[in-house]
Amino acid sequence: MSALLSVTNLSKEFGGVHAIEDLSFEVQRGHVHSIIGPNGAGKTTLFNLVTGLYQPSAGAVTLGGRDITGRAPHKLCEMGMARTFQNLQICMNMSALENVMLGRHRHLGSGALAAMLKLPGLRKADRHCREHCRELMTFVGCGDYLDHAASAMPYGALKRLEIARALAAEPDILLLDEPAAGLNATETEALKSVIQKIAGKGITVVLVEHDMKLVMNVSDHLLVISYGRKLAEGTPEQIREHPEVIAAYLGGGTRERQAQEVPA
């Protein structure tokens, strides 16, 4: 096992608020690595730091051994990193399929002249891209919306559409920020199998999620953060029994409920 992503002494401050404070952890290649913690713990901020949307106040991030601290998001995409958003980032002025095709940007020639003249090479690549992205939409469970405008899709489908867009980039590492939020039980079950299939393809997954049943089911490794700091780390079994986690995050009385919800 080798670490694909490693975060070292990472900090992010927003005018006095320490959203992330001196955080270090590693994500192993091929793992589903979940990050849990209460609202405001800094999970989304951590994603924004790792994916280059925020510049860290201190610390470093490496991907496959290369320093990527503060590198621009589009460069990280080219290096094989993709993500989804807790608060959707969908282009509502485009069709659902075009949103997914946008995700393949790094695999398509995007020269202005080739585009203007619709050169055969580009046309062919774009046709393949369209087919591939249709398959991806079906794969994530958006098959009913192949010809829809993005603005005509319900919330749950848009969350899955973001996953399809991220997959279109053919990433090595995929960061999912609360993909199950707002989904019903059936949709969450479908999401679980999608995540498992993605992991099955060898894509490393970093998952931020509140649905503990889902997290415990799919994760190889868990990181618990609170107030921007690491609270605990370990396998699902270790985390379930961790006294500090139970006290601080899972909360009083949750233990029995956890025991019911989470199959051992």
């Binding site: 485009m94 095709m101 829809h148």
Partner: protein
């Protein structure tokens, strides 16, 4: 849900069908018009629409507002004037050199200002327009100052195309005004074709993503600064070509071609016709070219009317004329 279905249908309508319809309408126009005055208006509509189609790529599709686009139109027109009369280049060579030069100019000024967001970009392009107008007014040696400068007639394949001429083709006689209209219409059709090709390409998706969600574009691998600059340059080149043609057509230009008022007129066309609607902006161009014809006695009212149109569209038809009408029609059909 109703809107949802309408949107779905919109996507299924092929834009290339619209291009054929446009070409057909433009080709049949001569049957509907009878005199030089009408041809003159049609030519101006086609050239203005060409600028607007390019500007729409920047404003409507990529969501970047330029309030100084007349600067590029003026630059194209003046570059053609100077290159033909002072450097004796042939009009077509001058037009192409002007387009390349304006493209480079847009690239140079766009690089720093396209890093600015929202209102700052508007302000910076506004400043660009103001500077262009000042330069054209004051560099009298080169530009003739406020009095303007003349241009020779266009020449194509060694034949001069003058609005005063008469030309024989395959036994038919055309006036210069008629040929100019056909040329401007052909340029517009090509401009639309290239724009439609761009929109339906990876480049076009990247541009629309700048408007839809810049963050989504970034994480999908789009170098947003680079793409903003690209579409800025493309739209500037559209304006330059149309400006050069207008210069040769009218034979005489003054700094008003690059004025703030002209920039506002161009933006009004895009907003009125329909942001991100290539055919909508052609209708917008037609309306804005025709309005002054009805205001001949009240020329000072022109800007007031443009301003009122801009406000009314923002309030009542925020998506613009053509997209709103299409949507109504589709709803009616259901």
């Amino acid at each position: 849900m109703k809107e949802a279905r309408a949107m779905k249908k919109n996507i299924l309508i092929s834009p290339y069908g619209g291009l054929l319809l446009l070409a057909l309408i433009l080709a049949l126009m001569p049957l509907a018009v009878s005199n030089d005055f009408h041809y003159d208006l049609l030519t101006k509509i086609c050239l203005t629409a060409t600028v607007a189609v390019g500007l729409n790529l920047l404003v409507g599709y990529a969501g970047q507002v330029s309030l100084g686009h007349a600067a590029f139109y003026g630059a194209g027109a003046y570059a053609s004037a100077i290159l033909t009369s002072q450097y004796n280049l042939s009009p077509m060579v001058a037009l192409l050199s002007a387009a390349a030069g304006v493209g480079v100019m847009a690239w140079l000024v766009g690089r720093p200002i396209l890093h600015l967001k929202g209102h700052y970009l508007s302000m910076a392009t506004l400043g660009l327009g103001v500077i262009a107008a000042i330069v054209l007014n004051n560099e009298e040696q080169l530009t003739g100052g406020p009095d303007g400068v003349g241009l020779p007639p266009l020449s194509l394949f060694g034949h001069e195309l003058s609005v005063f001429g008469e030309y024989q083709f395959a036994g038919l006689t055309f006036t210069g005004v008629e040929l100019w209209y056909l040329l401007a219409a052909a340029v517009l059709v090509i401009a639309v074709l290239l724009a439609l090709n761009i929109i339906d390409s990876p480049l076009g998706r990247a541009l629309r993503a700048l408007h839809g969600s810049e963050i989504a574009a970034q994480v999908a691998g789009v170098d947003t600064a680079k793409y903003k600059l690209r579409v800025f340059v493309i739209s500037a080149v559209y304006a330059s070509v149309a400006g050069s043609l207008y210069g040769h057509y009218s034979g005489f230009i003054t700094p008003t071609v690059a004025s703030f008022e002209h920039s506002i007129e161009l933006i009004t066309i895009v907003v009125l016709g329909g942001m991100a609607s290539t055919f909508g902006v052609i209708i917008g161009a037609a309306i804005l070219v025709l309005i002054p014809q009805f205001l001949t006695d009240f020329q000072e009212l022109e800007m007031v009317v443009f301003g009122a149109i801009l406000m009314a569209v923002m309030i009542f038809l925020p998506r613009g004329l053509l997209p709103s009408v299409l949507q109504r029609l589709q709803r009616g059909a259901q």
